[in-house]
Symmetry: D2
Subunit: 351 residues, 4 copies
Amino acid sequence: MLRCASMELVVTDLAASRAFYVDLLGLIVTEEDENAIYLRTMEEFIHHNLVLRQGPVAAVAAFSYRVRTPEDVDRAEAWYAELGCRTERRKDGFVRGVGDSVRVEDPLGFPYEFFFEVEHVERLAWRYDLYGPGALVRLDHFNQVTPDVPRACRYLEDLGFRITEDISDSDGVEYAAWMRRKPTVHDTAMTGGNGPRMHHIAFATHEKHNIISICDTMGALRMSDRIERGPGRHGVSNAFYLYILDPDGHRVEIYTQDYYTGDPDNPVVRWDVHDNQRRDWWGNPVVPSWYTEASLVLDLDGNPKPVVDREEPSEMAVTIGADGFSWTRADDAGGARRGEAPQGFKLGNQL
Amino acid sequence: MLRCASMELVVTDLAASRAFYVDLLGLIVTEEDENAIYLRTMEEFIHHNLVLRQGPVAAVAAFSYRVRTPEDVDRAEAWYAELGCRTERRKDGFVRGVGDSVRVEDPLGFPYEFFFEVEHVERLAWRYDLYGPGALVRLDHFNQVTPDVPRACRYLEDLGFRITEDISDSDGVEYAAWMRRKPTVHDTAMTGGNGPRMHHIAFATHEKHNIISICDTMGALRMSDRIERGPGRHGVSNAFYLYILDPDGHRVEIYTQDYYTGDPDNPVVRWDVHDNQRRDWWGNPVVPSWYTEASLVLDLDGNPKPVVDREEPSEMAVTIGADGFSWTRADDAGGARRGEAPQGFKLGNQL
Amino acid sequence: MLRCASMELVVTDLAASRAFYVDLLGLIVTEEDENAIYLRTMEEFIHHNLVLRQGPVAAVAAFSYRVRTPEDVDRAEAWYAELGCRTERRKDGFVRGVGDSVRVEDPLGFPYEFFFEVEHVERLAWRYDLYGPGALVRLDHFNQVTPDVPRACRYLEDLGFRITEDISDSDGVEYAAWMRRKPTVHDTAMTGGNGPRMHHIAFATHEKHNIISICDTMGALRMSDRIERGPGRHGVSNAFYLYILDPDGHRVEIYTQDYYTGDPDNPVVRWDVHDNQRRDWWGNPVVPSWYTEASLVLDLDGNPKPVVDREEPSEMAVTIGADGFSWTRADDAGGARRGEAPQGFKLGNQL
Amino acid sequence: MLRCASMELVVTDLAASRAFYVDLLGLIVTEEDENAIYLRTMEEFIHHNLVLRQGPVAAVAAFSYRVRTPEDVDRAEAWYAELGCRTERRKDGFVRGVGDSVRVEDPLGFPYEFFFEVEHVERLAWRYDLYGPGALVRLDHFNQVTPDVPRACRYLEDLGFRITEDISDSDGVEYAAWMRRKPTVHDTAMTGGNGPRMHHIAFATHEKHNIISICDTMGALRMSDRIERGPGRHGVSNAFYLYILDPDGHRVEIYTQDYYTGDPDNPVVRWDVHDNQRRDWWGNPVVPSWYTEASLVLDLDGNPKPVVDREEPSEMAVTIGADGFSWTRADDAGGARRGEAPQGFKLGNQL
């Protein structure tokens, strides 16, 4: 498998979504009709990185990965069939621009797609006349919510992914893991929570100021209430980030400048869940909605998958509020755990 | 009067303050001894923009302005004497590098200083070998907390300042005003609250990434709990900002890219206190400490001035919490005022 | 006088010029008709910073300055009349949006204009939805070519300008001087050469990447042959710069990040004409066209002023070519002057 | 093979080279002794990306690639042996920090090295307290000069490289080709010229301003004559670039923001040698030294390899000077080829 390549997103108001993804974010329309819009980033040469499809319920219809050869589609189909997963193969593809593909309901309940055949379109990397100040240049990754993170990791490792970073605690609870095919920090991340749900889709910009300009523009358009979190610097991934919400509440991350992970012995970075810099290197609090809200995903019939609750502790509960704690400096952690006044803990942003 | 030029800051641990202002922020040491450190920015040609002086109580000893001529020091002395303010004139200055100066206890209780004579030092603007990634290039402004903003504005307007922006409400309550001599948004701002206290001192960088690098470095040094607010885009001033806290809790703003205000008919920008983008254009919440905490100021004997409570409504109370409200879009304000669910209001960052 | 405020530029193909200034550079159209376009920058609140007027000969019709009071227009008129200059007063202004104004043919042959009355328009500083990646936020300065730089400086000093930097040699020849009203490095510069001619008009961006994006876009539009010089870092002014050419060959500088100069004792920076970093801090060569080409200026009847040759040495001749020399390190200058192989001299960019 | 990983560079004055690579460029010293310095970039986790070794003749001792498994070292040794190349295997490595390695004199005469075993060191990506304003975050690529580009491409394709971009002409002459293992535009490039020689080694920064800060610092240190070319935007690769020269004249590129190339059908971008934007998207001229100068390479005994002249046309000759031509717009090329005045050709930067 090469890389995360595209997401098919069901939206309830296609015109409103077009305003968000095309007018505000500047994604390029490869083609569109009354039911769907096919969008790509500035440096992409395949037909699309995002399909917006009008539908009754906001949800994700497919997390789509590109494989290395046509035969890898056969292999994917066989592999999932052997796992007992429902699969559907379409020689002409499920969406425009993409040929022979297989979609599966994966062991975690997510609709995954694999394809090789795809229509090439102009790579607009040199078309600076088309760049806006916040130009999105690549699809970077997906992020999925699932109750059992270790199980999700085993499954994706079997599929060929490698873990690059994770968040856990001293009791061995896994809260989230980042997994890659292409040599960046991730093609997808597994976030512990009630699922299967889609946490976000992330696009990359070239520089940090591009992300800031998106914030500035959303302010100018009086859409600041759709800025959910950030901008900030991640601890995990070391990238600069922003989370915004589309008209249906689908979360979009804008992301830049993580690091190369392509060596087989690439060091895994493990973060303590109580480290207050793990999700924001500057210690800014994570808003609760970021932990609790996510998008439904569809089965192969187009029906929303039921959401199963996470049984293990939630990252939000163990890090903020009455029963949680976070530390800025590891030395301070002991006192905090004993219920003493936390040292160097940054109090939240709100009464 | 030309501009805000320097602040004398009393700190309780000179070595800790040196680590903050010199090692972390990269201010240039013009000279220092065991009791005081004289610091300047990269583009400054006068002796210093900040004096750190060891003392028993963290406080501000002087807000110092440069005047246009030697005679203006006489005029300032006479003007304040006529107002009935205590003044003190020192031909050899109160601090190293500065000559003939007058200090006053101004009508609001702040220790203001005026000087013209000053030692010239090398303007390091071209010394890129000395720039760090977060280089501070200019002192930009002060910010003062005072109970009665309209009174403060009248006084500073008499002194020759002009208002560039303010925050008020439909009942005519003034919450804050920005006032300038040099043609930027301000040399000082008057923030309504219990005072006299010093809210912050602000230094300018060239670009936004310089500010981000300061955050990143504070994360690397596990000082993220000293990042109080930001980075973000101000509504007022349109500048990109960050607030951090020095070892004594003195607040420092890092600031870049406001606009030219030098024309006499420069339009005053008036913000509604309920506009949720006034203090952060992206709608990110203002932390309570930013509203409530500030530094003491000293009288001419070096004793802290008593703090007088503000009698008018507080900006924090009217904008957040049970009795306050904020709107993202002006059209949404009506419902919010009637206690209906606010439209487009961004919920705070914390449970 | 407050500041350089606007230029009236005669262009020979208004549609082509509109494509350059509006479509490429993103200046905002305040109003336009078939003969003229009124343009402003993002942070401007007066009617325009640039007037493009269709005409038979590409030239500058006015260098326009804003004064502090209505009475200053009277003073300017009287001052120039006393100098024996031709003046023309129009109570309703020479261009739209501007009221009572005086235009003069100044002692150097340039058409200068002074006005106070002006229509206010929306300051678009917060309208990030209108910003392109190379947004021009302010008019920064003019640059004029005149044969006798010392004479030009005396005249402008009498008018109230101050010198901030200059280029000269050890024989006392003045090659160029930078002069300011507002507290930046300049409102105009006097460049020694055949004149009166207009060397360039300069607009400011917020950051360096904005300037780079203009280059990138000109490459994408296959207009790279209209990039004349740069981008680079100036020695003089310490600003980051780019010179591009409009369809008539009028030179436009894009400029960012010079320094505050508002103190009366602001140190004058004097550059040796042989210092190879004076015009480009990185030592990149100045193209000959930059020295030789400039725009005609018009008299008050709209006729081009005759161009008078400079009699003193030309900066180009003394710095490059067989008879000139430049040094990178001052210590190397001696050998170079004696005709020895220059030490640390950067050879030009071309065979 | 994974990626270009390190270069061993022989320098004639180790202290001078240390000042350049450590003090100026900020590379991190992993270890050093009196004969050698081992340096790495901020995001690297293997022992080094550059070895500086004191020696009598400035040259390259090894272009070192990391392979995916220990067995790949065996395979590389066998593959080159079968080609008839001299090989040398050292189980303990040729340099510190690296284990079992093979060095070869490859068919083009270059000293190539392959290794898997390597000492892990701290990845300093999060250590922003150690970042300078021009921090180098990754080794990006090598660039080699060889007479016969098509032959070089066949060899590297056999070794597993893929071509991403090239420069050729309508007669089928190949002037240069870019070849990758990791999914960036290149791990090495083959530049047509007298060889075998090393054209440059390239390090990546996060953003463009980091590169500009290196220029600014070199100006401040009066080293501007060691800035050979740029900064600029490449046509080929679309990256932002700068070329500087170390004390021995070894050329170093600073590079940022090319694009993802990891798909097997990644479109190859082919540039016409006469396209004046191919090497600088802004049309700025390439200095002759950039075409003609390069570093010697050593054989496995440490002796410089003889340099063989290129027989095919040189890119410099066909693009500039009396017999060459370049065009800005393809439509203009015809006239230029017929010897007519070129349309849209940007004249060089120097008399």
